[in-house]
């Protein structure tokens, strides 16, 4: 089932699909960053795929000089009951990624969380604020160069 979806994805977007991985029965498709919105729209609307449920959007820090950040989309289909994972890479020098909130409104908060934790800016997001950390916090905590014990004085303490 998933192989035919990936085949149709490849024929529809020959330039976009960079790599397909299989591990423990799960399929991960690496997609070119600029094409993530059309690819997601296709996966949602194609009757054979119909990934109508955006389970999760999250980031990861590969900590490499190029393509440092990853944005990962875990998708699920209510009708066909199958899953797929999409992955795009984002550069540290220009940490921008198109937002998929127009495809799945439920991606709004996970994208805010990814922005908060990794500093990846989602272009076209309706309300891109920090999710957990305070607005004036200068760092992105899940980056690998952020120390686990935190940075002293990065959050001003209340007056006595």
């Amino acid at each position: 089932m998933l192989t035919t979806i990936i085949e149709s994805l490849r024929t529809r977007f020959p330039q976009s699909v960079l790599e397909v991985n299989e591990f423990r029965g799960e399929t991960t498709v690496r997609v070119r960053k600029d094409d993530i919105v059309p690819v997601c729209t296709f996966l949602r609307d194609d009757p054979a795929a119909s990934f109508d449920y955006c389970s999760d959007v999250c980031g990861a820090d590969a900590y490499t000089p190029e393509e440092r950040f990853q944005v990962i989309y875990n998708l699920y289909s209510m009708t066909h009951r199958h899953r797929i994972r999409l992955k795009v890479s984002v550069d540290e020098s220009h940490p921008h990624c198109p937002s998929v909130t127009a495809v799945w409104p439920g991606a709004e908060w996970p994208e805010r969380e990814t922005y908060d934790m990794f500093g990846v800016v989602f272009d076209g997001h309706p309300d891109l604020r920090r999710m957990y950390m305070p607005e004036d916090f200068a760092h992105h905590p899940l980056r690998k160069d952020f120390p686990m014990m935190g940075i002293p004085d990065s959050i001003p303490l209340p007056r006595k």
Binding site: R24, N74, M78, G106, R129, Y132, P141
Partner: protein, 418 residues
């Protein structure tokens, strides 16, 4: 930056988000007193430290902006700095109303990554504890919802039943609240016959007691009218917003991971997936009630079918050995040393494993680089996604319905804030 400037920046951004919202609700006859109300983070009806900023037009909610993060402890960052085994106690603190469910969900994800499977008996016990956790979580959910809309007695009754469950958890795991019972490839220890007897005794009396609790509510006109038609969401909108658990089944979507992507021993069990079609707060309540009844059925079947045998997979390099063998056998001592100091070292790869938690799809996405600790661990928490729908459910309604809607969503902030 001093604290005053910092506070001002925070307030301005949140208020700007509230002001910029597209507000389509307009009442010409409403009193001319549009105001901004701050609800939480300390409020009995927000079930934790959730903060809602609400814009009111008379008594009608025009806009609502939830603010999260007051309980953010950075569990995903912590996971990257400890071994897979060390992280198990931290999963207790996610959804603290069903810690056994989180333990199970986490080890299932790690076992998928490592490529091992727990023996049948361990899987049966995991199913039993997951369902008992679901019952205890729903008991709080139902009781707190009733309390939010004014029926205080039911809360004390459901808590009495939950207390009996916690006695069983104490007997089984040694702790009432922070259980940390599962291990990678098995369990902390086997379930003794006394625990099985205690669960049976609980199941014998619980359905009648539970019926008493819900008959206080089902025939209570005030309760039903407070919830009926309040916080309505369509099934399309619920799917698009990523709702889960009883909240999505309350809109008529028959989505249950126990059925659609079976794990543990659920394929061998006979149970129904309760669905209600209303999409309002009352439907979500009914789904929870029926789920408790189904869970009782599941636990009964498990107790009948549970086989004898080991509760640890025979994978010495991946599963922590028994303590008494560590003290007496050389090989086990070496394995214990390697596992504690270097970890399970799963192969390079990434997995996502989701279970049907008591609040919805509870998933763990793990990236491994072949080391003893995860490179990246993401918790897909159902309460986080459920809370995302609060503006949609609240806007256009009355201010007094906010507590009813929040209670029927049953969020747990430990999980939503991570």
């Amino acid at each position: 930056m001093n604290i005053d400037q910092a506070m001002e920046i925070r307030q301005q951004k949140i208020l700007a988000a509230l002001e910029n919202k597209n507000t389509s609700v307009h009442f010409d006859d409403a009193l001319d007193n549009e105001m901004v109300l701050n609800m939480g983070p300390q409020h009995p009806a927000t079930h934790g430290v959730l903060r809602l900023l609400i814009k009111l037009d008379g008594e009608t909610v025009v806009a609502c902006v939830p603010e999260l993060g007051y309980l953010h402890r950075g569990y995903e960052k912590l996971a990257e700095n400890m071994s897979y085994h060390e992280y198990i106690p931290h999963t207790d603190r996610l959804d603290y109303l069903s810690p056994l469910m989180n333990n199970t969900a986490y080890v299932l994800a790690v076992e998928k990554l490592v490529g091992i499977e727990a023996p049948k008996r361990a899987q049966y016990i995991r199913t039993i504890i997951s369902e008992l956790a679901r019952i205890s979580s729903h008991l709080v959910g139902i009781g707190a919802l009733a309390m939010d809309v004014g029926a205080l007695t039911v809360f004390t009754w459901t808590f009495t039943e939950r207390e009996r469950l916690y006695d069983i958890f104490e007997l089984l795991t040694g702790a009432r609240f922070t259980t940390s019972f599962t291990r990678i490839g098995g369990l902390a220890h086997d379930m003794t016959p006394e625990v099985a007897a205690a669960i049976s005794a609980f199941l014998d009396t619980f359905p009648a007691k539970f019926h008493e609790c819900i008959s206080m509510l089902n025939t209570n006109r005030i309760f039903v009218e407070r919830l009926e038609g309040v916080g309505v969401i369509t099934r399309e909108k619920a799917i698009a917003l990523g709702l889960g658990g009883p909240n999505i089944r309350g809109t008529g979507v028959e989505h249950d991971i126990r059925r659609s992507e079976p794990y543990l021993v659920y394929p061998e069990l006979d149970f129904a997936v309760p669905v209600s079609n209303g999409g309002d707060s009352l439907s979500r309540y009914y789904v929870r009630v029926n789920e408790v009844k189904e869970s009782v059925k599941i636990v009964r079947q498990c107790l009948e079918k549970i086989p004898a045998g080991p509760v640890h997979a025979n994978e010495p390099k991946k599963v922590l050995p028994r303590k008494e063998r560590v003290y007496t056998k050389m090989e086990e001592l070496i394995h214990d040393f390697m596992l504690v100091n270097f970890g399970v070292n799963p192969p390079v790869g990434e997995v996502y494993h989701a279970v049907e938690g008591s609040k919805g799809e509870l998933g763990f996405y793990i990236q491994s680089r072949g080391e003893g600790h995860p490179w990246r661990l993401k918790i897909r928490s159902p309460s986080f996604m459920n809370l995302q729908s609060t503006p949609h459910l609240i806007e256009g309604g009355m201010i007094s319905d906010i507590v009813a809607v929040l209670g029927s969503l049953d969020p747990v902030m430990g999980e939503a804030d991570k």
